[in-house]
Structures are given as structure tokens and as C-alpha cells.
Symmetry: C2
Subunit: 403 residues, 2 copies
């Protein structure tokens, strides 16, 4: 491949990288393309976190042959960070912004500040030989990470040094990678900002009710777990997770006198209470954002029942949108297992029994079946987001004026 | 410049494009770089909107010599859209995804479906001759826009045809541009989604109060206008615009019995009412997103007074963060000029007089001076977001239960 061909390829890679906005997929893609471009057998990608580099992705063609699940650093490796300083190869490259190219890392002269750590090789029966280590710098020169490419191979598969002619090209590729990583991080931050806004205001909106931030956490996590176990696509699962906190936002339109009434509601009061579904739908109506659209659907339909006896529209069966069917189970299970001023919490078994009995009448039988299948996960969430003792201290702001 | 040098340059341009996330700046940059790359004297950029192309940016070096304010299409031009079909040059390129290269657009054969429109030349005393028209396609092949490059020049400044060798390179550049445009649009959409979430929930939170969606609009637009007229940087102005809707979100923590009390509040009730500032601050505390951080500051400080007699912390002078000082004026002016169940609206002059008298005691004198300087703008906003008649019909959801 001549330089012109290399440049054309580099340009195509640049396009592919800048088109990928999911950070995890992007990091895999960067390492895969950098390895292909340099015929490297293995590689590692580190991302900057403050003044350290976090070991983020590893690929090794010998150990993860094509078709196997290569890819992400294992859970253990993800916890490894190294300082950005001269004591390690990647740290040196991160600190200096300069590329390093070794014919054989076992032959690094002893007077260098860094040395190669042979532990990984020893543990894995691997022999790291040639290595090209490149800083990922954005156009302002900031180092966002380091790509470490290992064991270039010639056409026969023999390990050879990385050609010095590759260096500027790989440096360019890493720059494009840095820009793409920065963009993907900003995208994620913006997404997180919206989710954070939704969550805070959902908690605040429940403020006048008996519910707590912990209820919102549990209910949305239960919904997420059910959606995932039902096999919905990741994107839909994520939408349900982030949209469900707003299920009761319409309670903002219900007066304290009804919302906080200690005794039984009159039929008229009950109707006014039911309007929280319609009010929620109106608050969220006609949004352009996908998560608010799902929120609208959930706000409107989380009190519908499978047999058509729910409210506000008496929808039945699959006419109830799936997010509403899922959150209905999650919301009721959490209400049953929570302490309220007017009732002690039901035990987990009692609550599950009530949900089970509601399958086909109150609830979608498929949602209930899935829920029963993942009771272990439900229990973990329940424990993780348990209400603190005493019961109301976990309220994010202060105790409500429940009169 | 040989092909290799061109490719290296193309790669650098790609990096610059993918680093720019502001859509307006990006579109200017795309056209500038494409013109530089092809030595084109002028150019136009169209963005796709559904099945039409919108004329978005125009540059002409002859008519906007360096140093002059070149750039964006004027307000009139921005309204021009053309169908994506074979009847125009740009439309043809958008529909076919194919590049067109003309030596002289006045010599386009009559049997082509498109023709060159000479009106612009006639109006501007310009002679369009050579033209290179390129589709902006993302890697899935979707056309996001069209770049039209006009009058390539050789080193002596003479208009020459665009070299066919440039075509694939410019096509690549346009692809990178498309990816960057898509990213910038997605970024803007995500930002808008967060702002939309904030606005909807701010309106909903005011639901129990006498305030309306129109109040939120007016108050945030007044704040924006004052901030801009004070010379704050665009970014800060935008934050104030989008953060100020949440100024009263803490009212969620104030019971109906106090919020909606028809008569005068007792001292204890007034203290409970004042707590909405602290509650709002807690709802928004420790957010990572810039707009929520400004919201927190505004929620906490919009009732502080310049002379230190406000609440909740009796801050004085510049110890009150600027967004709080700005929104204080905007909020009070809107309350004064709005009808309430307990008072008719003050006239504009009366309200301005009250604000003026508060300069140096209740309000930051600089904010008041700025406010008085832009009364025309304030009047426009006031009219644009006037409460509909009858007064409460504009409530986004339904009339509150004000008892």
C-alpha cells in the first residue's frame, strides 16, 4: 500500500470514527481500525481521567480469534489506572504527547525512565515484542488517551517492527480518534444532563406525596430490569429506565387536599386523583425528545389494566403501550412492598403473590411472567435503593407538609 | 500541490470539522475550507429539510473582501428553499447524490433537466462561470445538504474550471462535512431536549401557583434580554435564558394552604413561603450540568436584595450572583405588570417607575439601568408572550384548584 492509498484509507477511517457516537462502540472501533491499519496483533486503549490513564479496551487476535467475543477489558482490568508520568510507557506518551516505537520492548535500555512490565506476558503465555504507542490528542493538543499497538506482523504472520513511515499516519488516526472520543463524551454528558434533569424534577414532583426519591429509583430500575429480561432492544430499555421517573408528574395538578387526604377519597375526589394521568400526559405532550415521548406514554397509561378496567382511557391488552404495562407492575410492586402511613409494607412473597394473581386481569401476563423470572434481580434493586430509617429521612428536600 | 499533500490537507480539514460542534460556526467553516481547498471565489451551502434544500450559508470573496463581515445568508435568503428534484442544479445533486462540474454554467446544454438561474448574477453584477456542486452524504449515503462552489481561480486570479482531479477529494470533504453536520445537529437536539424538559417541568411546577406558562416565557426572555444588553458572553446569556424558568421550582415544597391562601400570610406562613428558595436550591444541588447549576443559583438568590434585606441569606451587592440579580428584576417586573386575583396589572410606566425606585435598595443599579435602556425590547417580549384572554385559559394543563 503506497502513501496515497494509506491516506485515502485514513480518511475513510476518520469518517467512520466521527460517525460513531456511542462511546463504547467508538473505543472498540478505534482500536480495531488502528490495529488493522498497522497490522498489529494486539492493542490496548487508555482513556485519560484527570491525571491518570484508565485501561479501557484490550484486543488480542491471538487470544480472541475472530468470531470470539474479544473486546472490552474484563471487569478486573477496567479498574487499572496508571499515572500520567514517565514511569510507564503509556504514562510517558500521555505526559509527553510524543509517540514511542519499539522494535522489542524486552530490549528497552535500562536508562529510560519507563520500563516494560512483563507480568501480563508471563501470566498469559504471550510474548510482546514490537510496540507502537501513540497519544490521542485533540486539535488543541490535549491528550485524551493513549493507544498501544502490539506486535506488527508481515504478510507471513511473523512479528516485525512497526514501520517508521506509519508513525505520522497513526498519529493522525489517533487525533481523529481523540476528536471523536471528545464528541462521544460530550454527547453522553448532554444525555446524562437531560436524564438528571428528569430525575431531579420527578423526585421534586413526588415531594407532596408519600413517595420518595428511593421509590423513583426502585420503580425505574424494576422497569428497566423487566424490559431487559423481556428482550427489548437496549435503546428501548434505556428509554424506559429514564422515562419512568416521570410517571406521576401529573400529581402536580392534584390539590394537596386530595393528594394528602388521610382517609378514604370520595368518588369525586378519586376522579380528581385519577386525572394525574391525563395531566401528566399534557405536561409531556408533543415533545420532540424520545425520552419525553416515552414519559408521556407512561404517565398516561401506567394505571390502565390488561382487562380494560383501568384509567383514564380503559385501554385493554396490547392497546396499552408496552412501557405502561411494564411500569404498572413495577409501580404496584413497589407500592405494596413500601411502608405507607396507612399500611405496613407487605412481605416480598405476599407482594409477588398479589402481582401473580393480577396477571391477565390487572397486568399483562407476559410482563408478570418476566417479573417472576427475575425476582432475584428485583430483590437486589429493592435492597440497593431501600428507604432509609426512619422512613421519611430519605426525602431529598425535607418532610412534606402532610398536615 | 500533489495528491499526497492534498490528502494530508483533507485530513486536517476533517479534524477541524469534526472538532466544531456549534452548527452555525461549522457551516461557515465547511464552506470556507471547501472554497480554500478548491480555490473557489464564492460558494453556497444548502441544508436538507425534509424534501427540500434550505439556502443556509453564502460566501463571496469578491463581494465580501477579507475583513468585511462575510458569512451568513441574509435574513431574506435564509427563507429560500428549493425542492430536491431535477429542476435546479443543487436540487439535482441532492436528489441524485452525484457531483456536477461545469466549466461555464451559462453554457449548460438546454436538454438538461436543470438550468442555471441568472437572476442573482443580474442583481449583483456578478458573473458565475465555473461551478462544482457536491452532495454532503453521510456514510450511510444519506444526503444532508449540498455545497455549491463557484468560480475557481488560478494563481493569477483568473476564473478557471474546477480540475476533475479535485472531484473525489471534494466529495470526501463533503462527506466529512455531512458527518460533522449530523453530529452538530444531534448535539443541538440533545441540548434542546434538556431545555424542553426544564421548561415543561417548570411550567408544571408553577401549576399550583397563580403563574402561567406565559409568565415563565416572559420572565426568562426578559432575563435573557437584560443579560445580553449587559454585554455578558453569549454562552452565559443562553444559560440564564434556559436556567431561569426553574426559579420557583422550590414552590413544590410549599403546601397549597400557604401557596394558595387568599388573604395575608401570617409571619410563620411567610417564612414557610420563603423556604421555596432553599427548597429549589436543594432540588437542583450538585448538578453536573451547567444549566442546572445556574438554575440552582437563581432559585436560591432571586429574592435577595441589593441592600442585604432579602431572603433567604440576606446577601448584599455583588455577593448576590449576577443571574439572581438579573432575574430578580425580570420576575418583579412581570409580577407587577400581570393581573393577579388580588390585584389588577400595573401599567408599564408604573411598573418601570417601581423598578427604578428599587435601584440600589432592592435591585442592582446596573441591572436596572440596563433594563431601562431596553424597554422597547421588553415591550416586544411582553406582547409576544401576553396572557391570553380570559386570563387563565393559557395554562398548559387546566385551571388549578385555587379554592
Amino acid at each position: 500500500m503506497n502513501t496515497e492509498e494509506m491516506l485515502v484509507r485514513l480518511h475513510r477511517i476518520g469518517l467512520a470514527l466521527s460517525s460513531e457516537r456511542n462511546l463504547d462502540s467508538l473505543l472498540q472501533l478505534i482500536l480495531t481500525e488502528a490495529r488493522r491499519f498497522t497490522t498489529a496483533e494486539a492493542g490496548t486503549l487508555y482513556l485519560r481521567e484527570g491525571d491518570r490513564l484508565r485501561f479501557t479496551v484490550a484486543q488480542n487476535e491471538r487470544q480472541d480469534p475472530p468470531g470470539s467475543c474479544s473486546a472490552s477489558a474484563g471487569a478486573g482490568l477496567q479498574n487499572i489506572t496508571i499515572p500520567i508520568d514517565e514511569t510507564s510507557i503509556a504514562g510517558y506518551v500521555g505526559a509527553s504527547g510524543r509517540l514511542l516505537n519499539f522494535e522489542d520492548v524486552y530490549a528497552i535500555p535500562a536508562d529510560r525512565p519507563y520500563h516494560f512490565n512483563r507480568d501480563f506476558d508471563a501470566r498469559n503465555g504471550y510474548r510482546t515484542r514490537s510496540m507502537l504507542v501513540v497519544p490521542m490528542q485533540d486539535i488543541a493538543g490535549r491528550v485524551l488517551g493513549v493507544v498501544q499497538l502490539i506486535n506488527a506482523r508481515d504478510e507471513s504472520g511473523t512479528v516485525v517492527p512497526f514501520a517508521p513511515a506509519l508513525e505520522p499516519l497513526v498519529h493522525s488516526l489517533a487525533s481523529q480518534a481523540a476528536v471523536s472520543v471528545r464528541n462521544a463524551q460530550l454527547t453522553r454528558d448532554l444525555q446524562d444532563a437531560q436524564y438528571d434533569t428528569i430525575f431531579r424534577l420527578s423526585v421534586a414532583a413526588e415531594y407532596r406525596d408519600a413517595d420518595t426519591a428511593q421509590h423513583i429509583h426502585r420503580m425505574s430500575r424494576y422497569s428497566e430490569a423487566i424490559a431487559r429480561a423481556m428482550g427489548l432492544p437496549d435503546e428501548e430499555v434505556e428509554l424506559i429506565l429514564h422515562a419512568s421517573p416521570m410517571h406521576d408528574v401529573g400529581k402536580l395538578g392534584v390539590p394537596d387536599a386530595i393528594l394528602q387526604k388521610p382517609g378514604k377519597l370520595t368518588p369525586d375526589e378519586f376522579l380528581a386523583m385519577q386525572r394525574h394521568t391525563i395531566i401528566g400526559g399534557k405536561i409531556l405532550a408533543e415533545a420532540r425528545s424520545a425520552v419525553l415521548q416515552v414519559s408521556e406514554s407512561i404517565a398516561l397509561t401506567h394505571h390502565e389494566k390488561w382487562d380494560g378496567t383501568g384509567y383514564p382511557r380503559r385501554l385493554a391488552g396490547e392497546a396499552i403501550p408496552r412501557p405502561g404495562r411494564i411500569t404498572a407492575v413495577a409501580d404496584v410492586y413497589d407500592a405494596l412492598t413500601s411502608k405507607r402511613c396507612y399500611k405496613p409494607p407487605f412481605s416480598r412473597d405476599e407482594a409477588v403473590e398479589i402481582i401473580r394473581k393480577g396477571a391477565g386481569s390487572q397486568f399483562d401476563p407476559e410482563v408478570v411472567a418476566t417479573f417472576e423470572r427475575i425476582l432475584d434481580t428485583i430483590a437486589v434493586i429493592q435492597k440497593q435503593y431501600a428507604d432509609p430509617e426512619p422512613p421519611r429521612a430519605g426525602s431529598p428536600v425535607a418532610a412534606p407538609n402532610t398536615g
